[in-house]
């Protein structure tokens, strides 16, 4: 990529993602060099936007392209070049063509209609865990099976297959030596979804896969490859993020007992608490996707970005911007304004945000009301974290009550 700065680039990521902590260098960068020239492990240098207004602009301004990164040797954390287009790498208007095929299923109104079923799933999972007895692994008992069951039912993916497809979705998010693990697992998922699409095509059901097949076969609104890759994106994004983040949230609440007790005392605080935890807890190991400037752009902070330059937006940094959030490094369930960017911003704002929000609110509410004595079964520092994944999460969450 073109270097428009004479300053030497800073190696990025700054360090390995450690538990739920945000790298201390980020606060210093945000203060002193808010748009930093970084050297990525592969593909050269990029800009890193760290302030709230700049991050929002990079995420939403169509002059920053995701599509321009596909098949290109762009700055990136992993060796393999992303060659397959998906909804995550499309620009408007192409992106909207796919998104609106399923957007209706994920609106607040439609998701709200799922509330009784989701409560039943949570009650069943929690009940099974309580019956099995203390201690238990909350991640395996509730955090993972909850969003997996919900997205399987919405899409029309058999829940019985989770033992196999979870290995592949997990593997797809792996950061390994040469990136081959991620690619191998993507191919497994493509074969698996292609098979499911074939059975749904033969026998349509009342689910999203069948709706997408109709959009393909009857209305020709997407290609067969788009249908397969979009289904993978929905299945994967529909559970990996929510499952990991629910574990992160409960860990943080239990490791900081006062926060947990405040929700036990007043469960009506849970929605505000979930928003604050979304702001505070960094889900990604680092800044997410790289974008390419299609023309010269001046960021909100006044920093110029030249056409062709690569730029990344650090959402967890934006969520800690002290100019937007007083005492940003503290968890505060009583913030008057909390328009965080945990779900992104602009065209790629998380499609599943209303569902994720509701699942996390309901899971936390159920735990604080049904198991108020819940505690970590091991010292907080002994909880093990995944370190080789694109998103953060516990390997297991040992709890007792």
């Amino acid at each position: 990529m073109t270097a428009t700065s004479q300053e030497p680039a800073t190696p990025y990521p700054f360090g390995v993602a450690d538990g739920l902590s945000v790298h201390p260098k980020l606060a210093e960068v945000r203060q002193n060099t808010p748009v930093l020239r970084i050297a990525m492990p592969y593909g050269g240098d990029a800009w890193l936007a760290t302030r709230y207004d700049d991050v929002k602009m990079v995420l939403a301004d169509p002059r920053f392209s995701m599509a321009a990164t596909v098949g290109k040797d762009v700055p990136r954390p992993m060796p393999n070049i992303q060659t397959e287009s998906s909804i995550l790498t499309m620009d408007p208007p192409e992106h909207g063509r796919l998104r609106k095929l399923v957007a209706k299923a994920f609106t607040v109104r439609r998701v709200e209609a799922l509330r009784p079923r989701i409560q039943q799933i949570i009650d069943d999972l929690t009940g099974t865990m309580l019956t099995s007895g203390s201690p238990a692994d909350l991640a395996a008992s509730v955090n993972w099976p909850l969003p997996i069951t919900v997205i399987c039912e919405m899409l029309g993916v058999p829940l019985a297959d989770q033992g196999t497809f979870r290995q592949w979705t997990d593997g797809l998010l792996a950061i390994d030596g040469d990136g081959s693990k991620s690619q191998v697992n993507r191919r497994h998922l493509q074969d698996y979804l292609a098979g499911l699409i074939a059975t749904h095509r033969a026998e349509p059901q009342d689910d999203l896969l069948s709706e997408l097949i109709t959009a393909r076969d009857v209305d020709d609104r997407l290609t067969e490859a788009e249908l397969v890759n979009f289904s993978i994106a929905l299945l994967l994004a529909g559970h990996e993020t929510t499952a990991n983040q629910t574990g992160n949230f409960v860990f943080l609440l239990l490791a900081n007992r006062g926060l947990w007790e405040s929700l036990v005392a007043d469960p009506s605080l849970v929605p505000a608490a979930v928003e604050e935890l979304l702001r505070f807890v960094p889900l990604g190991g680092g800044a997410g996707f790289v974008r390419i400037a299609k023309e010269d752009v001046v960021l909100a902070s006044g920093h110029p970005i030249a056409a062709g330059d690569a730029i990344m937006a650090d959402m967890s940094s934006a969520n800690r911007d002290e100019s937007v959030y007083p005492h940003a490094d503290q968890v505060d369930f009583h913030r008057p304004e909390n328009q965080h960017v945990a779900f992104g911003h602009g065209a790629h704002h998380c499609l599943g945000a209303p569902l994720a929000r509701m699942e996390m609110q309901m899971a936390v509410t159920s735990l604080v009301t049904r198991v108020p004595t819940l505690r970590l079964a091991v010292p907080a520092e002994e909880v093990e974290w995944k370190t080789d994944r694109l998103i953060r999460g516990v390997r297991s969450l040992p709890v007792a009550w």
Partner: protein
């Protein structure tokens, strides 16, 4: 000859400022503070406007055909 026009409104009480509409149809929507608003309240028919309205997670965007009063978005 039809000279159909559409009216766009964004419910500021419902909008959460996700900017999905701004990213989807940047010529038609812009953020004003923490919520979105149409760049022009009355427009010629434009699929991008419907696409943005259909992609709004809050269904905060209403598109009405002026004259007939027909609601084009949100659906139902």
């Amino acid at each position: 000859m039809t000279e159909e026009r559409w009216q766009i409104t964004v419910d500021k009480g419902t909008c959460i400022g996700s900017a999905v509409c701004v990213g989807t149809a940047p010529n038609r929507f812009a953020l004003n503070g923490v919520t979105a608003e149409p760049v022009e309240a009355e427009v010629d028919p434009d699929e991008d406007v419907l696409g943005a309205a259909e992609s709004c997670p809050m269904e905060a965007i209403r598109v009405v055909e002026i004259g007939t009063g027909k609601v084009l978005a949100p659906e139902e």
